[in-house]
């Protein structure tokens, strides 16, 4: 078991190296620091001196991979690649193009992100699974059909509409909750109710339809027929047999998504003015701040890999049939 986890973690490190190289190529080789400087300063007619000054200030005035004029190791260390990409592997994000410490920003913004993401995720999961179970309980009836229709309609509506409609109805017309904003501590509850609700609703259609098909697949299996033949009630069959067996694929999907909750949600954070990592990323994209985007890419990939490893481990814990090779 330990050996398996170690092997997965080493594989994860290799993936991170790949991510690092890929983002470096994407950000620096395709798009030279000169272009970035021109974009940051603005306009086509930027003098050479201004570009040089911008580059020196931010440490972009070095060759990409190989410094020909330097001594031994400095040939490789005195390059943009070494100075910009290698610290990322130690989770040292450095400074943004604006000059702020990215690591500090990440730490302070993680709280609001989690305050929104965790309730949305777990309440949403609960709502979707319950709805799917309800449909499976009434499978083949008009209620099931109506439920599937509702799911298809719900998942055909863009998430942006839910947010805009929710803000309009609850904040503008009914005035139950504020439009947007965030404060520290428990008082943030009234700011978070609407985003959480909207987040649950926008996931409900797609997820409960998916879970319903998972449950239906289990419901067609032999052991379910055996359970019914024994005379067990439908309720027991549903909760004790179908739900427990179908929980396996749900669990892997869920566990691998949990670490990514740290990243926050891009859209709803920016709509509801919550100062989390999602809105931080969006601001960086809009301001074309490459350092922040690169740091967030790296953080996201690392969390994704943690999620993969967690999913593998949880799989073996709940299903004794799964063994590590």
């Amino acid at each position: 078991m330990t050996r398996y986890i170690l092997r997965r973690l080493v594989y994860g490190v290799f993936i991170l190296l790949g991510v690092n190289l890929l983002t470096f190529v994407l950000f620096f080789a395709v798009n030279t620091p000169d272009d970035m400087a021109r974009l940051a300063i603005g306009g086509q007619r930027v003098s050479e001196e201004a570009i040089e000054k911008w580059k020196v200030e931010r440490g972009y005035d070095k060759p990409l991979f190989y410094q020909a004029g330097a001594q031994d190791a400095a040939r490789f260390t005195d390059t943009i690649f070494y100075q910009r990409s290698v610290p990322l592997l130690r989770f040292d994000f450095g400074f943004s193009d604006e000059g702020r410490d990215i690591g500090h920003e990440v730490k302070t913004r993680m709280g609001p992100s989690l305050a929104l993401a965790i309730p949305t995720f777990f309440l949403g999961l609960f709502a979707s699974v319950s709805f799917a179970l309800l449909l499976v309980f009434f499978r083949g009836t008009r209620l099931d059909f109506a439920g599937v229709v509702v799911c298809v309609v719900l998942l055909s509506i863009s998430g942006l509409f839910y947010i805009i409609a929710g803000q309009w109805l609850f904040a503008k017309v009914l005035r139950w909750v504020p439009y947007s904003g965030y404060v520290e501590g428990w008082h943030s509850l009234r700011f978070l109710v609407l985003p959480v609700l909207v987040g649950i609703l926008s996931r409900l259609g797609a997820e409960s339809r998916f879970y319903r098909s998972l449950f239906l697949e289990e419901a067609g299996k032999d052991y379910v027929r055996t359970a019914r033949a024994k005379g067990l009630s439908e309720r027991v069959v549903l909760f004790r047999h179908i739900l427990r067996n179908a929980a396996l694929p749900i669990l892997t999907g869920t566990v691998s998504a949990i670490p990514l909750l740290f990243m926050g949600s891009l859209i709803s954070e920016s709509f509801f003015g919550i100062p989390g990592l999602g809105s931080y990323t969006i601001d960086a994209i809009n301001a074309q701040d490459f350092s922040i985007v690169r740091a967030m890419v790296f953080l996201g990939s690392a969390l994704y890999i943690v999620g993969l490893v967690l999913a593998d481990i949880s799989y073996t814990l709940v299903d004794p049939r799964v063994r590590f090779e």
């Binding site: 993936i15 970035m36 059909f145 229709v149 863009s158 309009w168």
Partner: protein, 484 residues
């Protein structure tokens, strides 16, 4: 003679239509494909959705025939080479020119309104008056403004009559078409009205077309003299914006999946077929790609593309061609970042297929790797490609709205639902509220995505053995009724 211009996405749309025709011809000859598509054809909801899809496709294709109209020669230079307008027009623009849709106002106006939404200062009889000015292109024929409700009512009734007549004509046509195989007209009518479960669901399709025809006739009748869905901030007709956005949505939904096919097919089949080292490398490749948060990777790539476009302005002759290249590149980027999911499915399927007897036999006969992959594996994974193509479509159309909101979507000069929703965000906070822009985008986006989803479900049911296994018990009880 105008100068026809083929933009990148135009070429793609036209090739796609051509490929669709080739596929239909191919599917008709293959018994397996005919049976699968037959089962799609027997699903009433899917065929009703298909009617909408065909309509949207038609709009998209018409909007993809671009040309630059020839400008009238300047006085004194009649013999010089013909000059062409710098603005591109499409065949759809010419069709819409018959109505009031392409006419612009100054700024916001409510649906079917005669006057602008905001007050302006006008000079009346030499004095400055602040009032809501009359619209330039709405209800010009009315003698008095109070006639508007009566006029609208008359137009709605006329549109209803026209649409009803069209639907009736369709019904008569259907009956006569069935008359070829039935002895009497009454039996022919009964044949398509009372469906026996084997042929196409004609009744549901007819009801859908009838509703569609009536709505379209009413809208067409009204849009000759009014702005049916009002106008947006810059005075463009919202209905016109919606219709023009259809093409953008269609291109994003299809071109992206087509762009993912080469890497997904190549890597997926190679990984499943060769196993071992090749498989390891390819798995590493797509795990690396999927581990990067999708939106960020897309944002990074789009930022790179933006820099390239900004530094090479000489490549584009018109604004439309620059916007179009951006759309084209956006689809390629989405495809490049999104092929991992399809690749994983194809790899798993190929792993299964390569152990089957016919592949083993081919290998025993000494058939080359390339030939085995092309002749034996590729045709047998095509159903996965097809299912992915239809399933991804609706998700991508919705994704475009999100990307445009984030500012990494299509060019701002290109009409798109994302841009409309983005604009609506500020309009909702006005008082009184400007709701029609969002409403228009909502209706059209819902129609496109809903019909695509319903159609995709039927396709998946017909082609995916796994869904077919779990579905029958649910499908037998509540037979989906005609949803129009």
């Amino acid at each position: 003679m105008p100068e026809f211009t083929f933009l990148w996405t135009d070429v793609f749309v036209l090739i796609l239509v051509l490929l669709l025709a080739v596929y239909v011809w191919h599917a008709r000859r293959s018994p397996a494909l005919r049976a699968a598509w037959g089962s799609v054809g027997r699903t009433p909801s899917a065929m009703c959705a298909a009617i909408f899809m065909v309509l949207f496709l038609l709009v998209g294709v018409l909007d993809s025939v671009h040309y630059r109209p020839q400008l009238p020669p300047l006085p004194g230079q009649e013999s010089a080479a013909p000059q062409y307008s710098p603005a591109l027009r499409s065949a759809l623009d010419d069709l819409l020119a018959l109505t009031q849709l392409s006419q612009r106002e100054n700024t916001y106006s409510a649906p079917l309104a005669l006057r602008q939404f905001t007050k302006e200062t006008e000079i009346v009889d030499g004095r400055a008056v602040r009032d809501f000015p009359r619209l330039k292109h709405a209800g010009r024929h009315l003698a008095h403004e109070d006639d508007r409700p009566a006029d609208i009512r008359r137009r709605v009734l006329a549109g209803f009559a026209w649409g009803g007549a069209l639907a009736f004509g369709l019904g008569v046509l259907l009956t006569f078409a069935h008359r070829l195989r039935q002895p009497t007209l009454a039996q022919a009518w009964r044949c398509w009205w009372r469906r026996d479960g084997t042929g196409l669901p004609w009744r549901a399709m007819w009801i859908t077309s009838a509703v569609l025809a009536i709505v379209l006739a009413i809208v067409a009748r009204l849009s000759v003299d009014y702005h049916v869905l009002g106008t947006d901030r810059t005075g463009n007709d919202v209905l016109w914006q919606c219709i023009k956005s259809i093409r953008t949505a269609l291109v994003i939904g299809t071109l992206t999946t087509v762009a993912m096919l080469p890497p997904a097919l190549g890597f997926g089949i190679a990984a499943g077929y060769f196993k071992g080292r090749v498989d390891d490398v390819i798995q590493y490749l797509y795990t690396t790609l999927t581990s990067i948060p999708g939106v960020l990777l897309i944002a990074a790539s789009v930022m790179m593309m933006q820099v390239y476009i900004d530094t090479h302005p000489e490549l584009f002759t018109t604004v439309a061609s620059r916007a179009d290249l951006r759309l084209f590149m956006l689809c390629l980027i989405l495809g490049f970042t999104g092929w991992a999911g399809l690749c994983r499915l194809l790899r798993a399927e190929t792993l299964k297929l390569r152990e089957l007897e016919y592949v083993q036999a081919a290998r025993a006969f000494g058939v080359g790797h390339w030939r085995i992959m092309r002749r034996h594996l590729l045709p047998n994974v095509m159903h996965i490609v097809l299912i992915t193509l239809v399933l991804e479509f609706s998700g991508l159309v919705l994704y475009e709205a999100v990307l445009s909101y984030l500012g990494i979507g299509v060019d701002p000069s290109m009409p798109s639902f994302g841009a409309m929703i983005d604009a609506a965000r500020l309009e909702m906070s006005r008082d009184p509220m400007v709701w029609w822009n969002l409403f228009g985008a909502f209706i059209f986006l819902l129609l496109i995505v809903l019909s695509a989803n319903i159609f995709a479900d039927a396709v998946q049911m017909a082609f995916d053995p796994r869904t077919r296994r779990i579905q029958p018990q649910a499908a037998s009880a509540g037979a989906p009724e005609a949803a129009s």
